[in-house]
Each structure stands twice: as C-alpha cells, then as structure tokens.
Subunit: 425 residues, 4 copies
C-alpha cells in the first residue's frame, strides 16, 4: 500500500473538516482501544469516536455477526419496511433495556444521526403540546440542523446557521452562574410569573452530562428537580442521551441514577455498538400521535446497524458490565484528581461523571496543548467546552487495565512536558 | 428461523412508520433487483430504496470489498479524521466524476443523510451571501429537519414541524400552473420589482426531477433559465440531487443535460452504492468559507461507505453504464406509454425522466391501488405526489431485461385487474 | 414672526425625514385645498396629507366643533374609557355608514394610526383561525411596525426591519405579471395543491387601490374573485382601506363597487376628517373574540378625533358627496388622459380610480421631476411606486372646480417645461 | 344633553375595550386633576391617562395656545413636511431639555404612539449593529405591535400575537428572582460565555420603572451597571421612557438620577402635555444612519401636538417644577407607607419612584377591589402587575395639596371598607 498524500484532504475536502487538524495523520486500522495510522504508529484511543465507539473499534462479536449478515445477502437498506433484523432489535431492546428498567417507550427510527433524533423529538413535543417554544440549557449541544442548532448553545456554531435561531429559550444549566445559586430557582421564577416574557414551553431538552459544552455533569437533585418542574407545568422532558447514553456515565441511560423517567429520550452514537450510523427516539406511548410518514428519512432502516446494535445489547444482559464501568470510572477519577493535585499549574478541576470525564484547565489554551502533546505520544483525546478548556477522557467502556494505564502514562507525561515540575510531598 | 410476529412492530415501533404499511411483510433477503420475505416469497424491486439502491441490493463487487475491509479491521467510524479510505474516495470521486465533467467542487461530508447535506447547503448559502431567504419550489422535497423542511412543499410534513417554517419563499416549479405559462416569468417579476415583497434570496434550491412531489421533470430550458436568473441576480443555485442523482435520470448528475454547473450540489441516497448512509455536499471552491467545525456531525466519517462508494464509481469509468440506463429508460417509457394508451381508464400521463418515471393517474386513489395490487403479485413499487396520484417506477439501474419484463408484466396485470377491459385496436 | 431657519431640521431632526426634502419650505397656514409657507407663497394641495386630508385643511364645520369642544373642557384623552363623544361617534358611524351599506361590523379602536389598525387586524385573524401565515400582495403597503412591515412589499422599507420578516406569503396583485394572466389562477394553484409549500393562511390583506405601490387599481372582478377564494378556503379577507377609504375612490369604502363584504376592514388617515390621528378596525361580530385589553394602546380614546370624525360623517348623509367626487374624478381623468396623449414623451399611463389617480411615466426619474417642477410652481403633489414612477393626484375630495383647474394648469406647465413640444393635431 | 346609553359600547365596540369596564361611567368633562361624568359626578384623577396626562386635563396655558392655533388655520397635519411649529418644538426641546442635561440627541418623529417609537428604536438598533436579537426584561411593557410585543413580558398580551414572538431574549429585571441576587450577574454570565446560547444582541430595552409590570423600580446602581455592561459589550441601550418619562419619576427623563446617557430613548404619552398623540425617538447623532423615508407614518407631523408640547416645556424652564414633584412624591410615599403599616391585612409593600408609585397587595384580588371601591367613592386609579396586584397612584404632577389629600382620603376609606379594623397604636 502506498501512503496517502495528506494534500488530498487539503485539495478536495472542505475547510469545514476539523478533527483531522488536531489528529494529523492517516488512520488505516483500528481494534478495541487501539488505532494505527498508515505508518504503523499505534495510538491508544481515549476519544472513542466522540462517544460513538463505547465498545471500542471492531468488536469481534459484532464483527462476526455483521460479516455473516452481509455474506448471507441480508437486506442492507430497507427504509421503514419490516425486516427480521429490525424485529429482533425492537424485541431485544425492549427485553434487555426497557423492561428491566421499568420503562415503557415507543421506539421511533428518525434517521441515523443524533440530529435526526433531536429534530424528531422537538417536532413531536411541539405537535403534542401545540406550543412552539423549547427550553434548552447553556452549553448544551444537540446538533447542526436548524432545529437542533436552535437548542445548541455554542455561538460559533449558531452563527453558521445564517438565520436567527428562534422558538427557543436558553436557561442556565446546573452551576452555570456560581455554586451558591440553584439555577432552577431562576428558571421557575420565569415559569411562575406570567409577565416574564417566557411563554409556556412545549419541552425542556438537556444532556445530563454536557459532552461538547465542557463535560458539565448536572447533579442528581438538579435533574430530579427539572423533572418535577416539568411535571408541575406540564412541560415535556427530553433527555438527549446521544453522547452520555449507552453506558458512558455508568448506566445504560445516563438519567437512571436520578430516578427520573423522561418523556422523550434521544439516542444515537454508540447505539449501534460498532460505529454504524444509527439513532432512535423513545417516547411515552401516549405521545405517539405521529401520522404515518409525518417524519421520515431514507436511512431509517439500516439493517447492518440493527445487527450490531442487537449484538451490543448482550453486554447489558447482566449487571457485570455496569460494575466494570464503575470500577474503571473510579480509576480514571483517581488518576485525574491525582494529577490535578500533583500539577497545580494545570489549575485543573475534575469534571464529569462515569467514563465521561475530564480536567478543566484554568490556564487558557493549556487543555489543547495537553491533547496535542498526548497525540504526539500516541494518545487520541479531544478537548471540550466553549473555550476548549477541558481535556476529555473518553476511553472505550470495555478497555482493560493495561490500556487505561498506558493512557494515564501518556497523559501524565504530556502534562509534565508542559508545566513546571510537579509538587512533591 | 422462526417467523417474525408482525405485532412486534405494532407494539414497539412508533406510529410514524409507513412503508411497512404499504408493503406488509417481513423481508429477510435481497440481491440485485430481488427481495425475499421470511416466507420465501420473491419480489421484483421497482422501488430501489426510494432511490438509495440504484445498483440493486448487495452488489457482489461492493460486497466483497466491504467484507474484506471489515475483516481487516479497517476503521469503521472516524468522524472527520483522515483515513486511507476517505482519501481514496476523495481522489476517485474527483477523477471519475468531477474532472471528466469539468466540474471543480470542494467536497464536504455533512453527516450521512439527505437532510444533512441540504441543511449544510442552506447554511453555507446564507453564510456566503449574508442573506436569509431561500427560494424553493412547489412540490419540492428536501428533508425532515427544520431547515430542510422549510424548503419542502408537502403540507402534512410541514405541519409536523409544530412551528412556522420561515426564511423561505415558494415559487412555482416548471408547469405548476399550466403549460401556457413559463413559471419563471412570474419568478423574475418578483425579483425585478423591488416592491414585490420577495427579498433578494441567498439561494434557490430545487430538484431537476421531483421524486416525492409527483415525478415532475423540469424541462432543460427551464433549468437553464433558472441558472441564468441565478447568475443575473447573484443568487446561489443549489441542486438537490439526492434522489435524482447517481445515474437515476441517465447521467451521474441529473443536471448534466441542461449544461449547467450549480453552485452547490447535494448528494446522498445511492452515493454509497450499497444502501449505506452517506452524503456529500459539493460547492464551488470560492464558496468554501466554512470555519473548521462550523458544521459537524458524528457520522461524517463512515468508512464502510467510503469503501462501497469508491467501488460503485467503477460503474462510471466509461460511458457504457450511461448508455445502458438510457436503453432501459426507453423501454420503460415505451411500456408506460403503451399501457396508458391501452387502458384509458387509467387516465394516465407519463411523467419523469430516465429511470425516474411514473404514471400520473387521473382517477383519485387509483395509483395506490395499482401499487397495492402489484405488491400482492410480487412487485415493490411506491406512489408519489401530493395526492399519491403517481405510481413510480424506480428499478435498479443495472436491472437486466428479464427483470424489467417481469416487472412490466406484473404492472400490466395489476392495472388490468383494476380497470375495465383494455382498448383493442 | 421671524422666519424659521431650515437648518433647525438639518441639525436636530433625524435623517429619516423625507417629505420636507421634496417640499423644501416651511409651512405655516392651511385652509381647504390651499397651503401657505412662511413667505406667504400659496400652494394648491394635490397631496392631501397622503390621503389623510380628504376634506381639505381645517374644514370650517369641524374646526368650529373642535374649538367649542376644547373650550368646553371636554376630555381630550381617555384611553378606552366611555365618553359622550365616543358614544356619539359609534352611533353615528353605524347609522350613517354601516347600516345604509348593510354592513354589520364591530368597531375596535386599535391606536390612532394606520399601522395600529393593520397590526390589530393581523393579530385578530391569526387568533381567530389559529393559523400563522398571512397572504399579502406585491407592492402592498401596510405600515412600518414589524407586523405591518411583514405584509408590505417595498424592499428598502423591509430592510429597515433589521430582522427577517416572516409568517407571510407574497402573491401577485392584479396585473402584476402581465395583462394576459389572471394572477389569481396562480394564487389558487398554491392553495389547492397541498404540496405547494404555501400553508393555509389565516388571512389575505390587500388594498383595492395601492396608494404607495404605484396607484395600482385592482379590477372589480379580481376583487370579487379574491373574496370568493377566501370564502372557499375559509380565509379571512382584510381590506386595508387606510388610504383608499373615506371616499378617496368615490365611495366611502373603496370595496363597495365590488359588492364584497370583507371580514375585517382597516381605516385611518382621513377618518377623523381633520387630519387628527385616528384609526378603527371593523370586523364581523362573530370574529370579536378578543379578551378585554388583549390589544391596547394609549391613544385609543382621542376625543378631538371623535368630534371631528362625527362631524365629517355629515358629508355622507346623502348621496350628493359621492356624486361630486365622481364628477371631479371624471374631470381629473380627462385631464390626465389628455396630457398623456398630448405629451407622448411622458410615456404616460393613467392609473388609479376615483380621486386616487396618477400618471405612470415610462421614463425613469421623470415623475419626480414633474412633481419637483410643480412644487416650484405652487402645487404639492407626491410620487408613488417602487421606482417613484407615478406622479399622484390626490386633491381634497371637496375641492372646487377652480382649484382643480389651477392644479391642472400647473401640472401641464410643469410637464411642458420638462418634455419636448406637445403633439399638435 | 340626553344621557348616553351605555349599551352603545356593548353593541358597537369590540370586546377588547377594557378601562371602561373598570370605570363604568360616561365621562363628559375634565379639568386639571378632576373628571366629571354625564351625571355630574366628580372624580379625582389618580390615573392621568396611564401617564399620558402628567400635567392634568386641559391645562389652561396649552389650551389657549391650541385654540389660537386652530382658529388661525395653522396646518393640522403635515406628515414630515417642515412647519413653523415643528421647528419651534425642535429648537425648544433642545434648548430646554437636552442641552441643560448635556444630552446630544437627534430627534425622530416615528408616528404618534408609544409603540411607534419603540418599533423605530428596535429597527434602528438592529440596523446599526447588524445583529438581530434584543434583550428585554421580565415584566417589561413596550407596546402591542409585533416588534414591541416581542419585547413585552405579559403572557396574555403576547398570546394575542397569534405567532411566535422571536428575535428577543428575556432577562430578569432588578429584583426579579429575590433580593439576595443581582440579576445582572446572571445576565453577564450569558454574555461572557460563548456557549450560553444567547447571541450577542443589538440592544437592551428597558423601563427604569415598569409601569404596567407592577411599578417595579430598578435601583440606580442596577441601571448604572446595565449601562456599563452595554458599553463593555458594544450593545445599544434603549430606555423606554414612554410612561416613566416627562417628569413622572421626578426628573424629565427617568434615567437622570442614574447618571447614564442611553443610546436611544423612547418618549410618548405625556410628551404633548395635553393628551394629544405624539411620540419621539431620541438617539446619538452617530446612530442616525436612516435612509430618508426608511421608517415613516402618516401622523408624524401633528402640529397640534407640537404646539402643546412646546407650551408644556415651559414647566421645565427652571427647577421649581422638579422640586414640586419631589415634595408631592414624598407626601404620597408617606401616605402609602402609613396605610401599609396601619392596615397590615393589606400585606402592602410600597413600590415605585417619584409619582409613579403604588402598593403591592399580598392578598390576591385585593388591589382590584381597592381600585373599584375607590372609583365608587370618586377616585380614578388603576392596577398594575402580572396579577393586577398593585394599586397605582398616578396623580397629575401639578396636582395641588388639596387634590392629593382628597385622593388619600378616598383611598384610605376604600381600604378601610375592605379590610378589618386598622391597627391602633
């Protein structure tokens, strides 16, 4: 194999490309928590496709199922026609995920991406309530199509719309102002005062941990209170679990520890298990007032994804997987708190929950430098937050201890290379 | 294999599902122009995944490449990182498609669906021009997310938005009013009269043949004039070639016979060749003013699709494939004109272009009945148009004569079963 | 009295001022169809306050009533409290205007200006129907606040909004495209085709003669057909009679000759009779679903206007006034057609209806020159149309023959001064 | 004079009427701080036309000037043509008001009502900055046309729009949440965090005392900080002084004590001095980028209002008038604090500033009852706030001590009649 000329991207691909700028090499192979570039250089993957590869790359079990399916001429693309594999997925998702969690949801296939599920959720909430506004939260990220972008906080991305983004109200996420204040006091004042200028919304949409907005993890009591407020005012609660879901925070749905049952749930990214485009929208059966075809999309029936998504559900058949995630999460937290303490110049603050965590660096630009340094040393890791102020650890959930330790080592070396000597006790 | 209980869909899947209602069986295998359900019943596919399977199901060549890639642990999902397969696709798309057609476009991966590419096109057009309005056309269909839905004509689908759809102006597509009038006279009056209430738009967006809106084919001179008007008024021309592109009308891009070079082109559906979710947005290099990451999406780097899309381009290496499409198109047209004449009760009018054709039935409900009857007899075919008044022939482009003939036979039998005796000369 | 320094306006008043640029003098007195500036120069007024002074300046009868009222300490400003004068106006407007025309309308005081009545009409139509869109027409003018501006055609004025103007659809006014085409064929196609992208609107709003948009007079059969279309589709018909109403076209309401009864009528300008700010919104009693105070405004209860408006209604107690208007209209038309013929270089086309008429000049800029020349010679007259291509004759309705002739003479002299010698037969 | 049948209003006037429901009588005369109904019953006016009659009814000085002007055939209505009286007003407003306060503003006549000036301010701010959003504040009231309504908080009035109200962001007014929190901490967080979802706005618009929203008076330090924030972020500050201006709070402009100079100021209501419809928009000269006629309106040149507005400025030629207002304000405050203490059952809290004050009653419905009771006893007074929880004292600024005392007596009697015995010390 001749090596790829990096100029090809420069020459043919739009300037909009971005990850290839932070990870400037050409990847050609990937397995588990490892990737290799064309030069054979190995990378530890603490990025996991921005949360789309929670089970690592090319998981053997799913890979086998997928290859068998393809070789057997199973239908690949079937829109929303009925197929054997779709039926299997529906049944298994209900049996393995919904039923044991006492959740009763209808399943919608809104198109295969995160923004498709978010758009379908917003449409349904507005249709059901007859109201137009949706409350979103500061530093929320929900997608790049106009509906989803309207509930996304990032100013640069919003500006890309080229039109005013309307029919939404932004409220402060947990801890947005400062720790002394419960931002929901504020939100409730707007709802209860009918002169507030905030019209009764159709829904609130939020992530329980904000993946793009800085790995901000809402407190469980905050989430519970959001749920109560929604119920009190007859507002639908949409949890966008596209990034935080599928085990990333320690449970299948990220909202489980809060003991809430959202009205609508958006899922994508790791749902297929194998990195295949796939998304679903879950909602209370009584909200299922869609007319047939009222929302559609070409790639709603991608059977490869049904196959791997069903296979991935095997991870969830008992509690062992969740336990493992929690153990790894504890290790990662220990590591991060340790280096924060050891390298005070980082001005680091631990943030996040489960295996969706990071270090917010007080010094501007430092998080980006740490990620760049780590990449050079063979670790893939991205930054997050309005000023890229957080470096973000997203290892595959099934990474082993060796992999974790390798990653830790590279991160510590990278930090060390960038800041003054560590504090020694 | 035990057979699937159709109640699974009823029980777990949202009411929004639709094709499974018109094609009420469970599919389990597909190859070329054929599909089979769990009962082993064979179907001729004149539907082609609504245009996403122009090369038929599970094409051997692509299948082999895909299986090899998967088995070699090629990276599956890589966001917009650089990979060998992405580079191959970029280079080959330029060499096989763009260059020979004297087209100079940057390639953007906007997310893997049709609505992703349309949204990215609208955003870019507004960003480049600093204007907010976009002109769309009656019975246009561009997608279900808010931006794309705003330029889509269908009232039922628009209503699903739950909010007013704004920043767009609808103009009459070719032949919308009646044949005596060139609808562009009308459009131009609006542009040239600065009291018209139509603000200078950022762009016009249109399909050269409207796939969902009734298989309306615009005349070449109409398309040429649209292009001229856009140039005169410094309006960007966006061709949505999601359904009509990739050979469906006889050439790779549907606009080639008009001799125009749109500023922006949207492609998806059959682009991956294999039914895998995949989309690109093409635009003039000088329009490429995106900031890195200003538009993004999780599934922009789906390497399975790069593999099959590159393989599919082999069909286009010489002119034979185009010639074959044209020959088949002629046969289909002959057949349709023949049954139109033979069964006057159909009140049939031929519509469309290339292998994107159908019969508009004057009698309300009849097209749906023909499609249902054909399904019973083993043919998959959908209807189109605001009142489902068209039955739509979308065979794979590489179907053989036997397949075509089988399809024709079923259609004729179905028509015959529904209307009075044919006229005999 | 010392003379006013024109620099005062330059120095203190915003650049947005406009009529003072076309009529560059300082006015200090006005009576009937005459105005005088500070230098004592007399002007014939063929402008009538842009239609707000249909009875001329300072009508004696109204003036006496007004002075008496003021001197008697009648309440001036009473919001929407009940006053004797308001009751009188309500009763008299019903007795003199509505009842004899077999019109049954509730009367709303929406604030004292044209844009207030239009905004109230739009709000009511949307509230009643639960729909958001309103159809407006090319070159319509309805006001400068955001709601009214959204249904106004003029591009320069629309741009002043600084935001996209939404929830409206612009349709072609009568004769907008060319004379061979009935623009309502086009409009109806959009309504009847549910894939047209035009959502069923709450209302259509239009002027029967477009005062700012070029003195375009819709044909009576066109108005009738608009009314029929509205009825067929259950769309509310709003006639904006702010400029064309109060006798300007020959009847009190401009729509009377069409034999239609709009659902909502907007009136202002000449309604007070004396140039005092005053407006009403009329609507079918069954549409009166306003909650108390749901629309309000400080200056809804301006009793001076009730006084003069009631006095002005005396003009309408018998048919003589209408007859007089028609006679004068005939004279004006004769004059205009005559000079059009006599001065072919004008490339003049007569336009308008009643005493709302003008000459559209084929040569760009000429209408403005005629108006400027006439001003120098002692005639006040404005221009109209997207390119100011029409000079507009708006004499007071009660002007006498001498006044008319003086105006005609000045116009002819002005034309003569600007174009080549007249054609002589 | 025969008495007016109250049924006339019921029969002919829209249900939208509201003050006539709270003050159910027919008024026929008014002078100074008194009104009389047709039965000759006298009322003390603590309403002042909702702030439009700050100098009381039919002020002798203005009345004389107005009658003289009318009788002399001074032009009544002149659009934005130059007139002697307009020049006089411009010069005098500059000399008496702006210059002594070291304010340098261009003056725009945007149409004669409060909503006209607000709409013109919003348009100009968006035009100047090229941004679309405007920040408004909870319980702000700015008018009923779509632009102004979008920045108005009241839910019932907003709903009257029938369309979503967009391009605005509502922020908490001073003391909106609770006293422990400076709401501007919150607002600033939104501005400084570029992931907040709040796009950089064109302007902030606010009243220094909210007249309709509950007589909420912002603290001077809060206003100062708003001004600083606007300067820091290059956001235009619009003060809507329609109700709080013209001396109502003790100074001509309500913002004077805060030591700030807003970029744009909206004035109307009492500006004409006599209750005549009149409004101006003031702005920094460098913001005056309007094109001629880009905003217009029929009743911008109402010379009666120029006459009385100029006459009213005589009140402001020296400091005596301001001193008088302050003395009366002190008396009113004493009285209100006294009855609050004396009648604890009122659960009263003093609110407001200057002569724009009231008592917020803790018991729901009580404020309305007090106002109704007072009306029966001959006092006109309205309520304010999202739940009408405040009874509002708005006596004319030039009321004498006798008038004030009469009003106080009626209020105390009314309160007494509604609550238990007063507390006696």
């Amino acid at each position: 194999m001749t090596k790829t000329d990096m100029n090809i991207f420069e020459k043919y691909e739009s300037e909009v490309r971005s990850y290839c700028r932070g990870f400037p090499t050409v990847f050609s192979k990937a397995k588990g928590y490892k990737m290799w570039d064309e030069n054979g250089k190995e990378y530890i993957d603490f990025f996991s496709g921005a949360g789309a590869l929670n089970y690592g790359h090319n998981d053997d079990h799913m890979q086998d199922k997928l290859v068998d399916y393809i070789k057997s001429d199973g239908p690949t693309h079937t829109l929303d026609m009925a197929t054997t594999e779709k039926a299997n997925f529906l049944q298994k998702f209900n049996d393995v995920i919904l039923k044991p969690r006492d959740l009763d949801y209808k399943i919608m296939f809104p198109g295969p991406t995160g923004t498709n599920t978010v758009e379908s959720a917003l449409k349904l909430a507005r249709k059901v309530t007859g109201r137009t506004d949706v409350i979103s939260f500061t530093n929320g990220f929900h997608g790049m199509t106009i509906g989803s972008l309207s509930v996304t906080g990032n100013a640069m991305k919003r500006k890309g719309a080229g039109i005013p983004l309307n029919n939404t109200v932004t409220m402060p996420y947990d801890n947005f102002v400062d720790e002394s204040m419960d931002t929901l006091d504020y939100l409730e004042r707007f709802l209860e005062d009918n002169g507030s200028g905030v019209d009764l919304p159709a829904a609130m949409i939020l992530e329980t941990v904000q993946g793009e907005g800085g790995i901000n993890a809402a407190r469980m009591e905050w989430l519970k209170r959001v749920d109560e407020i929604c119920k009190r005012w007859d507002i639908l609660l949409i949890i966008d679990d596209v990034q935080a879901g599928v085990g990333r925070t320690g449970t299948f749905f990220s909202f489980e520890p809060a003991g809430i049952k959202p009205d609508i749930v958006c899922m994508s990214k790791s749902l297929s298990g194998y990195g295949l485009p796939f998304a679903i929208t879950l909602f209370r059966p009584d909200l299922d007032i869609w007319a047939p075809g009222e929302h559609n999309g070409t790639f709603r029936g991608f059977n490869h994804a049904f196959i791997t998504a069903s296979a991935a559900l095997d991870y969830w058949k008992d509690e062992q997987f969740e336990k493992n995630i929690k153990q790894k999460a504890a290790k990662v937290k220990d590591f991060l708190e340790n280096i924060t303490e050891k390298y005070p110049e980082l001005q680091g603050t631990f943030c996040g929950r489960g295996l969706m965590v990071g270090i917010e660096c007080g010094k501007e630009g430092l998080a980006d430098e740490v990620a760049a340094e780590a990449f050079d040393r063979g670790l893939i890791m991205e930054t997050s937050g309005p000023k890229s102020e957080v470096f973000k650890l997203f290892p595959p959930l099934n990474i082993d201890d060796e992999g974790l330790q390798k990653g830790f080592d590279i991160i510590e070396e990278s930090v060390k290379a960038l800041v003054s000597e560590p504090v020694t006790n």
